[in-house]
Symmetry: C2
Subunit: 350 residues, 2 copies
Amino acid sequence: MSHKPLIAIDAMGGDEGVSVMIAGAALARHRHDKFRFLLVGDQEKIEAALCDHPNLRDASEILHTSEIVSGDDKPSQALRKSRGSSMGLAIDAVKRGQASAAVSAGNTGALMAMSKLALRTMPGIDRPALAALLPTLIDSDVVMLDLGANTECDARNLTQFAIMGAAYSKIIYGFNEPRVKLLNIGTEDQKGTGTLRDASDLLRSSTGLPMDFQGFIEADKINRGECDVVVCDGFSGNIALKAIEGSARFVTDLLKRSFTSSLRSKFGFLISRPATELLRHHLDPNNHNGAVFLGLNGVVVKSHGSANEKGVANAVEVAARLVEKDIIGRISSSIDHINAENVNKESDGK
Amino acid sequence: MSHKPLIAIDAMGGDEGVSVMIAGAALARHRHDKFRFLLVGDQEKIEAALCDHPNLRDASEILHTSEIVSGDDKPSQALRKSRGSSMGLAIDAVKRGQASAAVSAGNTGALMAMSKLALRTMPGIDRPALAALLPTLIDSDVVMLDLGANTECDARNLTQFAIMGAAYSKIIYGFNEPRVKLLNIGTEDQKGTGTLRDASDLLRSSTGLPMDFQGFIEADKINRGECDVVVCDGFSGNIALKAIEGSARFVTDLLKRSFTSSLRSKFGFLISRPATELLRHHLDPNNHNGAVFLGLNGVVVKSHGSANEKGVANAVEVAARLVEKDIIGRISSSIDHINAENVNKESDGK
């Protein structure tokens, strides 16, 4: 892998459009001299945005297209126009080896569908998964996956998600044996669905995987910092993620309402502003930006649709990091390991 | 139904023990002259607790037992000692018609298992569900069910939960046509599992039910006040509920940490205390206490294990209200209606 990661940026995705994507790439470039970029989208708009960022212009090529995937496009519609859109061309650059990774803030379903079609699932992985970082009470974020790519999953899928999540956590935080748990409605062995119990048995009986599998976790503990990777099917994961986001917004909305309820509390709020800024910083999704599609033959990072330039820069850094630290190779070696182990078990059983 | 509801109280359940259960019952009695109580548990302890509440003593009988269901008992263990325990005897009083409803703050799994065994599922309902009230941005709470009684559910179960949830919402808030939604990972028709799509079709095609069915809701909208009843299977519901609780605690923990991070913010916090008290009041689970097992031949209310006397009083009031407003009759008439409609549809189809 080159020591100069070249990141393909879908410059047209996201609620904020070209200017934020370009500003974010420029910020990442500012932090990392060696980054190179392929900026995909409307050439005129990209060049206009680059006027403010000569530093980025010197490190970038532009790939023009006027076609874009809209936020409302269903995955099937998006697939039909995949070839020519900024999202499709960014992914295609990864497929052709021109770019090492793609970053898009566009429509998640379309990005997933296009990435799967173009890059294909990596050997040994049955299904790719969408993983994100969530804030916790401790210094490191928790990796959670799958967050919606697979509505229904079997035990083998969940085991593979555990392997992919552990590799992600290792790369981001350097944990040699990330603490991995399965999301369930109780922590006792007999709780939940048969699929979850089977996945737990599979992970418990696999030795030598680069993770510390610790059984089940309930949804109220996800943010406590008690584990590094939370594994779930895409339905439960999406429910949990959105419930967490919605509840955090609910509490901060109530807080705002409380603080503006009287002159006295408005005054108190002003005085304690640094404290509430600290809270805002900790909860700001831009500090945890960069959902990743794991299990594909290539690195694709989804930046949050409403991310600001700091958020986009974080997503770019996550993409570069995954390439440099060889996420695909790491996942591959764990999969080979668990498959070899299962073959040995089967032959022992004969 | 008698105009003097007699509530059986499992005086031994809950983290705080007899004193809180008795104080809570006393508070409910203080608010409602007509309430009568059957206090089930250790006679000596109950009598000691009643010394502070002569008002409650005059309205109560005591049913002595020294046996209790512990928080650690699995439902199967609890069932074995169901007959003699304070929880079991409270439910049994409902079964025999001695009490109109039972309230317990004990082990939820055990309470569900015992209630199901003793009271049986009501005619036309395949499975009972656990429903709770969650705070929202508007004045009324949202009813959510099932929260864990049924790990896996089919479309018919979900339809019945919708009927039961709507009846509950109607009784608590007087809404003639509560807005009902199904919890899903997207709001478009094709989203989620086949079970959810089937349930949506069933509810959409049923006319004359006392509810306004509005399709799907995502988990980040549960607390927004956009609907009155959220329907889900017990696995998703438990995940969503706990994710909401955990996230709210996470944010308030961060807030506490922020407010104690400097002298200045501590001072600001003191000044804005009335505001944070308002927040605390809104989020206080004691103000939303009273999870209900719906679909049984009797009313059983689960008070939160850590509820204070106000929380217990709320649970008692919920129980009395469900009895007075005839929750079972209401559910029954909706079930008859939907069954009759389906019979008509079938004969039309011939």
